[in-house]
C-alpha cells in the first residue's frame, strides 16, 4: 500500500517537473513536500476536539505558544499598570470590554483563568496561537473574529498583563 502511494507520488512528481523544463538543479522536493504532508494531515480535524474546552474553566498550566516562556509575578507595579492601561485603551478596547462579552471575551478576571505567559503570547503571537493552541482555537471557534496583531512590544504586553491583574472582582 505504502509502496503504491510512493510510486504515485514519484510519477506525479516526475510529471510535474517534466513540462517545467530541464532544470534539474531546482530542488523538486521542495514543491512536493507540502502536498504529501497535507494529504497525511487532512483527515485529522483537531478543532473538533478543542470545541469541548470549557472557556470559563482555568487553564493556568497552559503557557501558550510564543516568545514568552516564563513570567514571574511580584506585587502589583502601579507604574506598569498605568502604562498598561494606556496601551490597553489604544489597542484592545475596539474588541474587548472588561465586564461584557464584545467582539472577544470580557477580560475582567482573565488572570484567574489564563497563565501570564498564555496572555502575553496571545497578545504577541496571536496568529500562531490561533492555529496551534487548543484554548486559542476554541476561542476563535466561539467568537469567530480573529485576535488582531497590533504590533505590541514585549514590554507593552507585560504592562497590559499588569493592568489586567488589577481587574479582578
Amino acid at each position: 500500500m505504502k509502496f503504491k502511494f510512493l510510486t504515485l507520488v514519484t510519477v506525479i512528481a516526475l510529471f510535474l517537473s517534466s513540462c517545467g523544463g530541464s532544470k534539474e538543479k531546482d530542488n523538486p522536493s521542495e514543491s512536493e513536500a507540502p502536498a504529501t504532508e497535507e494529504i497525511k494531515k487532512e483527515p485529522v480535524k483537531e478543532i473538533a476536539t478543542s470545541e469541548k474546552i470549557d472557556l470559563m474553566a482555568p487553564t493556568l498550566d497552559n503557557k501558550g505558544i510564543g516568545p514568552i516562556k516564563s513570567v514571574t509575578l511580584d506585587a502589583i507595579d502601579e507604574i506598569m499598570v498605568a502604562k498598561g492601561k494606556e496601551v490597553y485603551k489604544a489597542n484592545c478596547t475596539a474588541c474587548h470590554k472588561l465586564k461584557k462579552r464584545y467582539i472577544g471575551p470580557a477580560l475582567a478576571n482573565i488572570t484567574k483563568r489564563r497563565s501570564p505567559e498564555w496572555i502575553m503570547n496571545m497578545i504577541l503571537n496571536a496568529d500562531e496561537m490561533l492555529k496551534k493552541d487548543p484554548v486559542a482555537k476554541a476561542l476563535i471557534a466561539e467568537y469567530n473574529a480573529p485576535m488582531a496583531q497590533q504590533q505590541i512590544s514585549e514590554e507593552e504586553a507585560r504592562a497590559i498583563l499588569e493592568y489586567l491583574r488589577t481587574k479582578i472582582n
Binding site: 509502496f3 503504491k4 510510486t7 514519484t10 510519477v11 516526475l14 510529471f15 517534466s18 513540462c19 517545467g20 523544463g21 530541464s22 532544470k23 514543491s31 492601561k85 490597553y88 485603551k89 489604544a90 489597542n91 478596547t93 475596539a94 474588541c95 470590554k97 472588561l98 465586564k99 461584557k100 464584545y102 467582539i103 469567530n144 473574529a145 480573529p146 488582531a148 496583531q149 497590533q150 504590533q151
Partner: protein, 664 residues
C-alpha cells in the same frame, strides 16, 4: 515485484510524455521571434516565490505608474500619480485631492511619461522614483517605501514637459525641460510672431536629500526650440546635462514638414554644476510666477498645496562657458549617455543613423574654441570637432532610444523597422538585432541609464500590438517584451500587456527595495486632525451644516455604526481611521449615495470622504474590502431626517456611546 514493474512502466510512459511536450520549434511562424525552448522556464516564478526585479513602467495617458515584477511580467500595483484612481480613492478623498491641484485648478487626469529612480554614486538606490506629467507640466516624486506619490510640483514657463524627469548621479537635481517653446512670460500675441520671441525653459529641481522635497532651483531660459529628451552626464561627464532639440527652424504650423527642414538640429550640452554654483552665489533673477507645489505628509495622512509665486531665471549669456550646441542629425529624439560618460548618443528619428558624440572631444573643442557660429549667442561646436561617429547605415530605421549593458554594448530601439539593435559602443559595429512586435518606443535595462547597468534583462516597450493578444475590440493593449541579454544574442522571453502607453520604465533589483517596504502606518504617529486612536474617541459632531463623523474601523465593525440626527442639506464628513496595526488588513467604506469616494484605508491611516444626503431615510454603509470572515457583517446605518427636523445628533455602537460604558 509487481508494483516495481508497474512503476517502471509508468515511469516510461511519463518519460515519453516529457519528450513529446517539449516545445517543437515553430518553423513557419517568425512572429515567435525564435523563442528558445527554455524561455518559459526563465520567466517562471513559482507560486509564492518573488521576482528578482521591480519594473516601474509609465502609465502614459492613464497618468499613472505601474509596478511589474521581472522576469514574470506580473502587475503588482498601479501607483496613482497624475490621475484620480477610484481603486485607491486617490484624487477623491479630501486628503489626496490637493495632490492634483495646479495653477489651472484641479486636474483629474494627466499624461505620465518618464520614470527615473533616484541614484547614489551613479547607481539606482531605490529611495524614490520620479515621473513627469507631459500635458500640464509637473514632476512627481514617489516613495519606494509606501509606493505612494508624496510630492508633485508644477513647472512654470513650460509646455509639453517632455525632456523630463531625469536625475543626476547623486540625485542632486531632477530635470524638467519644455518640449514646446512658448512666449516668456506668457502673453497675448500673434502666433506668427513666434520666431525669436518664444523661449524654451529647462528647469533644474533641487532635491532635499533628507526629505526628497523638490524645489525649482533655477530655470535656464533657452532659445525657443523644442527640447525633446534629456540625459544627465555619467561618470566623467556627470557635471553636464544633455538635451536633444528639434524645430530649430522655430516653425509653428504643419510641423511635420516645417520642423524637418534642417539637416541637423542640436544636442544642448549644459554644465549644470557651473550654473548651480552661479545660482548659489546669488546669480540669476527672481521673476514672478504662479505654480502649485503639493506635498503629502505621511504622519498627517494628507496633502497640502502651496502656490509658489516666484522662480529664478538664468539667461544663457549670464554664464559663459556653461552651454553649447552639438550639431546632431535630423530632429534627434532620444538622448542617451553611456555608463562611462564618454559617448553621447542622439537618435535622429528621421535619419537612418545615430549620431555619437565624444565627451572628451567636446571638452577639447571648447578649449580650442572649435565653433561654427552661434545660435542666439550659444556657441555651436563644429560637428567634426565633437563627433565620434555614426552607427553604420542600414542599422535600422527610425532610431529612438538607447540603453547600455556593462560590457560595452548599446541597445537601440528602431521604431520604423520594429527592432532592437545591439551594437558595440567603441567600434560602432552592429552585434545583434531582434525584431519586436511592434513599433517599439523606449527600452529599459535595470540601471541601464546609470553608471552601473544590471544587465540581465531588457524590456522593450511597444506602441502597437495588433495581433499579439486576444482582440478586445478596436482598442487593444499596449505591450512590453522581455529579453534576456546576458548572452551574445538577445533572447526574447515574454510578452506582457501594459497600462496605457508605456513611454519609459525604470528597473531595479528587488533587494534594494523589498526589505524596506512599509507594512503599516503606526497609529501612535498619526497626527491627522480628525484621527481617532481608540473607539472611545469616536464621535459625531455637528458644526452648522457640517457634520463630522470621527469613525474607526477594525475587524469587523465600524464605531459608531448607528448614527442619527443627520439632515437633508447637511454635508457629512466621514473621517475614518483604521485601528488595525497588522500587515495587509485594510478596510473599506462605502456610503450609499456618496459621490466622492469609496475609500480603502490602510492600517493606521485616517481618510476622509464627504456625503451630502439628498433623501430622507435610513441609509446603510459597509466595508468594501473583504477583511475577515465577518466582513459581510461590517456595516452600519445613518438616519437622515428632513431639513429642519429636530432629531438630535446621536451615535452608538451596540447600544452604547462608544467606549463610554466600560470602567477602565
Amino acid at each position: 515485484m509487481k508494483t516495481i514493474f508497474k512503476s517502471i512502466f509508468l515511469f516510461l510512459i511519463t518519460t515519453t510524455f516529457i519528450v513529446s511536450c517539449a516545445p517543437s520549434e515553430k518553423k513557419g511562424n517568425s512572429n515567435k521571434g525564435a523563442i528558445a525552448g527554455n524561455a518559459a522556464e526563465k520567466v517562471y516564478v513559482a507560486p509564492g516565490e518573488h521576482d528578482s526585479h521591480y519594473a516601474f513602467i509609465s502609465g502614459g495617458f492613464s497618468g499613472q505608474l505601474s509596478v511589474y515584477g521581472l522576469p514574470s511580467g506580473r502587475l503588482f500595483r498601479v501607483i496613482p500619480v497624475f490621475s484620480q484612481d477610484p481603486e485607491k480613492g486617490y484624487g477623491y478623498s479630501e486628503e489626496t485631492k490637493p495632490m492634483l491641484m495646479t495653477s489651472h485648478g484641479f486636474i483629474p487626469w494627466g499624461d505620465s511619461h518618464h520614470p527615473d529612480i533616484s541614484q547614489t554614486n551613479g547607481s539606482v538606490d531605490g529611495r524614490w522614483v520620479f515621473i513627469n506629467e507631459n500635458n500640464t507640466p509637473r514632476i512627481a516624486r514617489i516613495s519606494l517605501e509606501t509606493f505612494e506619490t508624496e510630492e508633485i510640483i508644477e513647472i512654470p514657463n513650460s509646455a509639453g514637459n517632455h525632456s523630463s524627469s531625469y536625475v543626476t548621479e547623486n540625485s542632486e537635481y531632477v530635470v524638467a525641460g519644455t518640449r514646446f517653446a512658448i512666449p516668456y512670460p506668457q502673453k497675448d500675441m500673434p502666433i506668427s510672431e513666434m520666431k525669436g520671441n518664444f523661449k524654451g525653459a529647462l528647469s533644474f529641481l533641487k532635491i532635499d536629500q533628507e526629505t526628497g522635497h523638490m524645489n525649482i532651483d533655477f530655470q535656464i531660459m533657452m532659445p525657443g526650440f523644442n527640447y525633446d529628451k534629456a540625459h544627465p552626464g555619467r561618470n566623467k561627464s556627470s557635471d553636464w546635462f544633455f538635451f536633444t532639440t528639434y524645430n530649430t527652424e522655430e516653425s509653428h504650423t504643419l510641423m511635420e514638414v516645417n520642423a524637418s527642414q534642417n539637416d541637423k538640429d542640436y544636442i544642448a550640452a549644459i554644465n549644470w554644476k557651473k550654473i548651480a554654483e552661479y545660482v548659489a552665489n546669488g546669480g540669476g533673477k527672481k521673476v514672478p510666477a504662479n505654480y502649485a507645489h503639493n506635498i503629502w505628509d505621511d504622519d498627517k495622512h494628507m496633502a497640502t498645496t502651496t502656490m509658489k509665486k516666484e522662480v529664478l531665471i538664468v539667461e544663457p549669456k549670464e554664464v559663459p562657458g556653461a552651454i553649447y550646441f552639438l550639431p546632431t542629425a535630423k530632429s534627434p529624439h532620444g538622448c542617451d549617455v553611456d555608463p562611462t560618460g564618454e559617448y553621447i548618443i542622439g537618435s535622429g528619428k528621421l535619419a537612418a543613423s545615430m549620431t555619437i558624440h565624444s565627451f572628451s572631444k567636446m571638452i577639447k573643442a571648447i578649449e580650442d574654441k572649435a565653433f561654427d557660429g552661434d545660435a542666439y549667442g550659444i556657441p555651436i561646436i563644429k560637428y567634426e570637432a565633437v563627433n565620434y561617429g555614426a552607427v553604420a547605415p542600414g542599422a535600422g530605421l527610425g532610431p529612438l532610444h538607447t540603453e547600455f549593458d556593462s560590457r560595452g554594448n548599446a541597445y537601440t530601439t528602431f521604431f520604423i523597422s520594429s527592432e532592437v539593435v545591439k551594437w558595440n559602443i567603441k567600434d560602432l559595429k552592429v552585434v545583434d538585432r531582434h525584431p519586436v512586435y511592434y513599433s517599439v518606443g523606449h527600452l529599459m535595462i535595470p540601471g541601464g541609464n546609470s553608471r552601473t547597468p544590471d544587465d540581465k534583462y531588457l524590456v522593450a516597450m511597444n506602441k502597437i500590438t495588433k495581433d499579439r493578444y486576444l482582440p478586445t475590440g478596436p482598442e487593444v493593449c499596449q505591450s512590453a517584451q522581455l529579453f534576456d541579454i546576458s548572452g551574445d544574442k538577445m533572447e526574447l522571453l515574454l510578452d506582457f500587456p501594459t497600462i496605457g502607453e508605456p513611454h519609459y520604465a525604470a528597473g531595479i533589483a528587488a533587494e534594494k527595495i523589498a526589505s524596506k517596504s512599509k507594512k503599516i502606518f503606526r497609529l501612535a504617529d498619526n497626527t491627522h486632525p480628525y484621527a481617532v486612536k481608540s473607539e472611545a474617541e469616536t464621535r459625531v459632531v455637528r458644526e452648522g451644516k457640517n457634520v463630522h463623523i470621527y469613525m474607526s474601523m477594525i475587524r469587523s465593525h465600524f464605531s459608531p455604526d448607528n448614527i442619527e440626527g443627520v439632515k437633508v442639506g447637511d454635508k457629512v464628513y466621514f473621517h475614518v481611521t483604521n485601528l488595525e496595526q497588522d500587515y495587509d488588513v485594510p478596510h473599506g467604506i462605502a456610503m450609499i449615495g456618496a459621490n466622492t469616494s469609496e475609500l480603502l484605508v490602510m492600517p493606521g491611516r485616517t481618510t476622509t470622504f464627504t456625503w451630502e444626503p439628498k433623501q430622507v431615510g435610513v441609509w446603510p454603509f459597509y466595508c468594501t474590502d473583504f477583511c475577515s470572515a465577518l466582513h459581510q457583517e461590517m456595516q452600519g446605518y445613518v438616519r437622515v431626517s428632513a431639513k429642519g427636523s429636530n432629531v438630535p445628533i446621536s451615535y452608538t455602537l451596540d447600544g452604547d456611546i462608544p467606549g463610554k460604558e466600560d470602567d477602565l
